[in-house]
Symmetry: C2
């Protein structure tokens, strides 16, 4: 059985996990812990615990499709003073954190209760904030401030950092080293993907691991993060943090979404990512149709999982 480790946290990782869940694999999700917005951000501020949002998404991705507990975990209150906008899954994880005493135990218990396939591990248990230095040297702190973005979106992000400096979670390091395949992306480059790779222990583990290292490139750019990016720009940024020659495979979608959908995305200033990459001595490029464009230009979980399984 292939040992597959997926690193990320956002909706991209959710998609990868949803697809791989249906294959006969030993699956581990290693999850970003820098979220500071929305329901997660409110709980993080008020309880001082580590953020739950990305953990919750991965737990849901790996739980049985028909489960009522899964539905409860996904549930979001749409009214109620103080409750409005809160995800019940986040509240659940907050309570579990309080009852069990640590984030690790809380995640383990949630995984057990939800009867998930595989494991979910935090990338770090250090309570840290994501920061970005823009090309004009302006500093933005807080994942949500970079994500939304609350800075001039025309300015490129020059460098990411984490304060305080986090320690890689030991079990996550072990999982990376033991993996047969390591999947990075898709997902918001500066807020979901790179924050994981700038943790020294994680970067070292990825370099040390004999796994096939696979980067899944995004289908669409994101305003204020990756405006104007083509596939090679994504890969260059990942390599900037991970080192050249580390990635073995790049998976790129080459199917353009419909004109109607592209118009919708244009409103949010997001554009199709040109798959302008070819295989070279360092990495092999798989360009294929991965599109699931019923409502959004997203990766189709099954197409993506099949592509990963074949490598």
């Amino acid at each position: 059985m292939q040992i597959i480790v997926v690193i990320g946290g956002g909706t991209g990782t959710y998609t990868v996990l949803r697809g791989l869940k249906n294959h006969d694999v030993d699956l581990t999700a290693i999850v970003s812990m820098m979220d500071s917005g929305g329901s997660t951000g409110r709980l993080r501020d008020e309880f001082g615990f580590l953020p739950q949002g990305d953990i919750r998404r991965c737990l849901i991705a790996l739980s049985p499709d028909t489960s009522m507990l899964r539905k409860l975990f996904e549930y979001r209150f749409n009214k109620g003073k103080g409750l409005n906008g809160h995800s019940l899954g986040n509240l659940f994880l907050t309570a579990l954190r309080d009852i069990t005493g640590t984030e690790e135990k809380a995640i383990q218990e949630a995984a057990r209760i939800l009867n998930i396939k595989g494991r979910v591990l935090p990338i770090t248990t250090t309570n840290c904030q994501l920061g970005a230095i823009l090309e004009n040297n302006q500093v933005v702190v807080g994942e949500t401030n970079i994500d939304i973005p609350k800075h001039d979106p025309k300015l490129r992000i020059k460098k990411l950092f984490l304060i305080p400096k986090p320690r890689a979670y030991r079990e996550a390091v072990k999982a990376i080293i033991k993996a047969d395949k390591l999947i990075i992306g898709p997902g918001d480059l500066y807020t979901s993907i790179l924050p994981n790779l700038i943790i020294t222990g994680i970067r070292k583990a990825i370099n040390k691991s004999k796994a096939k290292k696979i980067y899944v490139c995004n289908i669409m750019t994101k305003h204020g993060e990756t405006t104007g990016f083509k596939a090679n720009d994504f890969v260059n940024e990942v390599q900037k943090y991970l080192g050249e020659g580390v990635l073995n495979y790049i998976i790129c979608n080459n199917k353009k979404p419909s004109k109607t959908l592209l118009k919708e995305y244009k409103k949010e200033r997001a554009e199709f990512v040109e798959p302008n990459l070819k295989s070279n001595k360092k990495f092999k490029v798989i360009r294929t149709d991965l599109l699931d464009d019923i409502h959004l230009a997203r990766h189709n979980p099954d197409k993506l999982a099949r592509t990963i399984m074949k490598l």
Copy 2:
């Protein structure tokens, strides 16, 4: 196997269920739906659903002791803007109500998730409020306003009413009629016990049922509700709503709590209920030590369950 139906909702019912759960019985809890205070009251106001508090307590009583889901259901947030004071179990039931569409389905799903022994049924699915007419003819509306109390606590409650007039829940009526034993009490007389008995369909079902009808008298009086009450006052009030000759057994604790504990209770103006009742042609009185006075003057679940089983 004995078919036992417990009618109530508050901590008294919790105690009865906790004890009976360990016996080989077919157990059903029929639960008051008039709670309007605390976390339950806030959710009731904000979401417009039926109150969850008493349902939650009964579900917890009947769930396995070591279950983590049980702990989560019991968890109460002690900080967080808008979250403080909320019970996670209440939020869970609110979300389930929203997902499933009805209170009945929400309770069934929660029962399944918590893997409870027996069944929990609402006494009504009508969204109604409890009201009381005091001896000076003042009208107080809202369970929590009677419970706290927000009226002159010296004034006795002359009459209870429900607005709008609720319909007895059909499954609850069926359960009462099929029961071998029907347990009423212990619990706050005017806010947990009698509100159930003033629903016409429930009163009729109790009268029609061939079950042994057992009333468990409280150990302590409650300021503003039953000040100065002795056992016979409790029974008289129950009979006022249920009719004379309906109750077959009265279970009374005859062990006085320690002086230290009585002093504590005196601060809240609560006193020991004198077991001043004897068996007569209409009902048999069981006077026995049912006290569990480690921290509070409460019924011991095991002693009470054994007493009920013997009848």
